[in-house]
Symmetry: C2
Subunit: 310 residues, 2 copies
Amino acid sequence: MEIRVFAPASVANVGVGFDILGFALEAPGDEIVARFGNCRGVRIREITGTSRLPLEASKNTASFSAQALLDYLGKGELGIELDIHKKMPFGSGLGSSAASAVGGVFAVNALLGSPLSRRQMLPFAVLGEQIADGAYHADNVAPSLLGGMVLIRDNRELDIIELPVPDELYAAVVYPEMEVLTQASRGILSPEVPLANCISQTGNLGGFIAGLYRSDYALLGRTLRDHIIEPQRAGLIPSFPAVKAQALASQALGCSISGAGPSVFALFLGKEAAQKGGDGMQEVFKKAGMLSTVFISRVGANGAHLLPNP
Amino acid sequence: MEIRVFAPASVANVGVGFDILGFALEAPGDEIVARFGNCRGVRIREITGTSRLPLEASKNTASFSAQALLDYLGKGELGIELDIHKKMPFGSGLGSSAASAVGGVFAVNALLGSPLSRRQMLPFAVLGEQIADGAYHADNVAPSLLGGMVLIRDNRELDIIELPVPDELYAAVVYPEMEVLTQASRGILSPEVPLANCISQTGNLGGFIAGLYRSDYALLGRTLRDHIIEPQRAGLIPSFPAVKAQALASQALGCSISGAGPSVFALFLGKEAAQKGGDGMQEVFKKAGMLSTVFISRVGANGAHLLPNP
């Protein structure tokens, strides 16, 4: 028996919710295959799509999180093989390591007959991501696992609130071919925030969440603003101001940095607007000499799910 | 013809929403009476309940805001007399000046046949409150005028979002007989917030708003926490830590400072719990030698409204 899982990329921070908001994308994502094998615990059989991930099970986010799940279930010695098909870029700000961690946990849980719910799987995936970027936080893992837009009320407690997403809310995510390391991107952040900016940010976050509940696209547009993190990180992404200006000129509700960057996301009312807006953003990168890839997705995309066997 | 209006007190900040959240109380509040008179513009005929408010129309929040409304309507010379019956304490952190400003605008608008909606009246009431405390902000004015729980997404733009309130959400507000001046209470605040606290606050605010939409009392309880302002202001209110501890021991969902203080509010599931909790909080103040008054109110209380003529 073989289990094939798709675990999606995700957009963390979402401009207005640094470290506390994230949403899943329909694509890209990782594919993880799990089967029983003649080994002790979780082993990685192969990794495709990259040469940069460790095959050693204790150092790989997918196998580490899967092993943590096995251990929790008292089945730590059970032999399971994983294949990891990395189908998304690294260091892109799209939650690559989170997708692997989620995929590993989800696949092994499914292989065992799904003893745990998605919510119950969450801590193991977060542990897995932690070995990749050092922080215990769920703003990519939770959306990749649960789907849709997710509020991480508290990362330590993993107090996760799934938010409603208006049907016609679409994202254009543009990944320029460069790499920003999360730790470096965090390192430049000031440890202090002006109180006035904190007030603005709370007002905008509150309005953004109300906008999701009300399906109020105009309110989402007024509130998708980041006065704290984006100004500090914008300089890491060449042409960011021009790309954002292009998005807003294309009727984006808002535009900011995905996770730690360099991907840039913008939200739109409707798929067509997102496609057109994304193309325009890509064009701006191109004029600046940067290749990029555009992903268009419903914001209310599904979380990790089984794929049919080929 | 005489118009009698009740304009309620309100709880601003609500722990988790400094400068951006507020809710109306059923009581206390101001009563304002408006009638046409032989004067030019708005005049104050009498003020009861206090000797501390200016009778001079340009210096009194109720008449100032009412005059601003008249001017906007092109009827600045119309003679209107106001009686102000101050039925709530000053400097209590319960929005006394906001209630007067709202009452003045609401009464005059009603006297003129209600040409403006509540939302349209809002800027004039905010202007009125501004002459009392110097700041242009709506976190008391908006709930006093609109009722219920209100998010002030942006004070400058007066982008106001009315939030749903679960039916059984009640507040106990305890006013200890001392005075804290808003400006002094603002003056002690650090102009910088640690980024980590800003993240906690946004997570809690987001969860609190989701809790209102979901009628999720447990979530409201987990999120009604203030790591930024309350620690800085708690020292202004003698016995605050003991009063808060008593509230939480009485099953309060949360407890914090109302506005700039010294009133302390706690939220409860159900009126009975609020009454019992409020009594316990009052008892703690009493043991510390402080007289206090308890107000119990639905959080979803009505905003300013007409009273029957006596």
